[in-house]
Subunit: 338 residues, 4 copies
């Protein structure tokens, strides 16, 4: 930790800072530059809030030397984590994982038609919302509990694994029981109570990036899950909120190599929510693969024009099939075995 | 609702859109401009997801004519709502409300010292975190249940009302039972499960704006609470996330007149989280009052340099007292009785 | 300057960094913390690009201890600068300065009607665009050279000073010759060629903040002007670009106390461009005064409904007069003599 | 154009709006929905500022049905534009174009070493700054005029074409005379005076996207160039400014398919400025190709650790060569002939 003093800080303020450092069992190392003084702090300060020093008189700011996340950090866990979703493996050195399905489960006919199509095109995991965190209380909220039977039917007919979102303690318990993977949505990325419950679950977790989350915050949210004992976490980039308005969100693909550098966790990309526009999904899915993602998650619908939610960003089945055909080629072009 | 067709949309696509509109019991009104066609839609379409149309072939985009929120809208509820926090009233025509206190409750000595000071300076409601939604699982998480006794002691000694944050179903029940007002934090603004529970509570709710929430999304989150029967909601601006890095967040004071125009709900401002820097809090609190806010919420600490969290943004008691002295003067200067 | 090594940096990489520091005539001070090494750098490194070190192997990042701006910094120029606009003074300790006028000069009748009205209400400086940097080449580009005669007529009839925008070398020469203050617009804040010309001019400069400029970048742009010898620079906040869509830009009032802390230059606020909506202008202007701004700049029109540009954000004359009446009261409430 | 009335707008206000529409020679088409009225406007209104209506009483907002840009729009120019840079062609159906070189020209040895290396790896155009728009006036500003001789030497030895940035009228004339392509940098994207000069030049223009430019604004900036008669414009995405801090900017690859949909102009991507970090450049360059870009522009240096600017984002020659080897494979995987 480094404590940067203000340029007009006095010697007494510097001494008070050093005293506070020592009081906490740490060692201060003042370094005088031409314009101001910086105090390096050494010792064991895990869990110490930097604000402890930033509140002191004469302090300009406090800089951490280490990342705020620990368990998700590659620094302390060099080998890539491989996450096992009921036999489908996600991570470095594994086949690229395709997750696909409708935004929401609507009916058996819909679900089965999509399931067979995405299975045939190469998907390993089906997605489909049962509990929908809708922005407005007046719109369709999902099939909820009734959807789990459909999920079982899909699984036994196609062998696809299943991932769906949990939005509270109750739905998390149901998803843990019935699905293969628990999704934590972007709006709940800092719902720490829910993260802890996900950390106690016995199923892998797909943790979407919050709309305004920095990479540090996202990996620290993963720490909430990991610190409860669940090591099976896959990260999912799904677009951040910016001023740009040609897409619904701005898909931040640069986060893929950044996650690979800073963390051992697998990372996939969701270009459907990331763009909100069907025609931009295939190019952005292929770009995600080229950037090094471990998988993609896309919305597909057998009849997008009749979908109850997110139809505009759902691929037609033929679009999905065409895109899925190109994915292994792009993967190989960047040196990854599909 | 308006459905904007693409410039190259064909007559058959236009007809398919019109047919879908009629199928939903609504009436299409096509209007041909020089460059493209727009279809006005009339009829009763409350709760209809605009995506129903945006997924159709040839559609460029769908625009709502009405706001997505209903119950929070001034359009349907012209008179200003006044929220009653155990006798302290917040809203248009009321005295400006000052909420003040530490980031977190730490000890009885701390809490009592601050309570007396803020009471003397004119605060009506005390704030103080018991359940802290901390970004990292490794930092101080609050006194939790033990804090409620302190709260009662404060209340009986000073008469201050009390607001504190609930982070899940369990803490919400405790806060509802013991405090005067339930705070929903920025990170949970779209935790819809929690919003519904708050809507079922018998205490008023302080709903903070999410870090990346548009005004529409914020008011729609308020609708989640209102639609469960709780009409006592106060909005709180606390800074949004932008590229600007001279403050921790960017305090968006323009949202104050915007809320006043679009909603009947009271709105207050939290410049402590909004700036993250102690010295910027008083000018921004006074600016909030000048912009027309119904109150302010600030962090104050009897010894910020020893605070367990957020010390850098906590006011010294003398700073708070000096600021509180100016607030009525600014309120009067903009035509509001303090 | 601090050079933060990567956690896995080797001893040889550390040595190479230290060697490069010494090669540049500076002194390295390595400090070993538990997780990584940081190298403090002391000596005379004005103008040294931090990238010189960030490119070295094993370096994680380089942090400046001092701000990138020098001449605009309060650190090296403690006393507040007062800018003199042909006798109208702007800055700490001066009367709050009101600049008002239409977006663009359109006709003599328009200009004179507005000039008399704003003069009567208390404005000291008139604004009015002659050279308009319009987003589209197909919209009204301003009266251009013809406007200067109108400006002279206004000046002799009312005594108002005049500020208008320069967009290139040629218009800058004209504005310098005929107006009292040269405005550099937000879109040209990093047009360094234009900034240098403004620095060579003999008239004060109003430097608007770029739509996506950090405070550091803005003050560094001021350095471009100051370093050419022109010490008369006033900063103007006019809203930044964010995701928020209830206003055209997000007015960042927190930059006012931040400028006051970091710089000696005066700072004013333009709530017209900052919000883009007429009804939000008066509350935000009053908020700017409460936050400590040295002045405000607003758009006023005698007939906004017929304005050739920016009518929606132009105040009616009565709105302006009512707002101007409250400004001294707010100024006094925050301890400033109007 | 659509004029959306406020929900509480009166019949007289609606009539006044309709009257204003007719006064401008256009036809109003009022459409009454349940909650409010919208007025469609038909007729010839090219160049009409929507603000003409948004300033009227009772108007909530005005929506354009057509894009603000015309000449850059695919709507009016269906076929893809191919830009010819002294024989190197850029655009749909052409070989993917690689532009590479140092941030700045520093010396003959540096320039020649890099030129031969990038030529051998497959680049067609060399980049290299002569006039540097540096954020601070105290840092290296480029070789300026002296660099043109080096450029000629490169061209005759290697056959590489040359692109470099112009920052004002004078440098633009020099770049037009000596280089093969004129670059307009991100900071000058809305320097309309410079855009017009570029539009009068006889060489193709590379127009970088401004840091906070929407797609509409970028294409409208292209209109400034096109409207002066220069049809040879290539767009270049180089990252936008967001809250995300793991990269210097956020590379917005979704703009590639969006440009392809809305415009006929070629679009390339600069992942060096887009990320600011050397190790993220190759994955993002490959992702850009997968997303459908017509080319990439990257910074390469023979000795990044000694570079005078931007060393941290410059590729080592071996990194560049390895990346360039993969580009044709990714291009083919997404159906494009390299």
């Amino acid at each position: 930790m480094l404590i940067l003093m203000k340029s007009n800080a006095g010697a007494d303020q510097l001494e008070a800072v050093a005293a506070r450092v020592r009081e906490l069992g740490l060692t201060p190392h003042p370094l005088q530059s031409s314009s101001r003084t910086v105090v390096g702090v050494t010792g064991e300060y895990n869990g110490l809030d930097p604000a402890v020093f930033s509140a002191l008189a004469g302090v300009s700011k406090v800089m951490r030397l280490s990342a705020p996340f620990k368990l998700a950090a590659r620094e302390f866990h060099v080998d890539d984590t491989v996450v096992d979703v009921s036999g489908v493996k996600i991570g470095a050195g594994q086949k690229l994982c395709i997750m696909a399905g409708p935004c929401s489960f609507e009916s058996e006919a819909q679900v089965m038609a999509i399931a067979h199509a995405v299975k045939d095109a190469g998907a390993g995991i089906m997605r489909g919302g049962l509990f929908k965190p809708r922005t407005s209380p007046f719109t369709f909220q999902g099939l909820r509990d009734d959807g789990f039977k459909l999920m079982q039917a899909v699984r036994s007919e196609t062998g696809l694994r299943f991932v769906t979102e949990a939005v509270d303690e109750r739905s998390l318990a149901l998803v843990e029981e019935h699905a293969d993977m628990i999704q934590i949505g972007a709006r709940n990325m800092q719902n720490f109570a829910l993260l802890k419950k996900a950390g106690q679950a016995k199923k892998p977790v797909l943790l979407k990036r919050g709309m305004s989350a920095t990479l540090d915050e996202w990996l620290t949210a993963a720490d909430y899950i990991l610190s409860e004992g669940n090591s099976q976490v896959v990260l999912c980039e799904r677009g951040i909120r910016t001023f740009a308005n040609h897409t619904r969100n701005t898909l931040d693909l640069s986060v893929v190599p950044a996650v690979k550098e800073l963390s051992h966790l697998p990372v996939i990309v969701d270009p459907s929510h990331g763009t909100g526009m069907r025609n931009y999904v295939p190019p952005m899915a292929l770009a995600a693969v080229a950037a090094g993602a471990d998988g993609i998650m896309v919305e597909v619908h057998n009849d997008p024009e009749q979908a109850k939610s997110d139809g505009a960003q759902s691929l037609f089945i033929e679009q999905f099939t065409e895109m899925a055909r190109r994915i292994p080629e792009v993967a190989r072009a960047v040196g990854r075995d599909f």
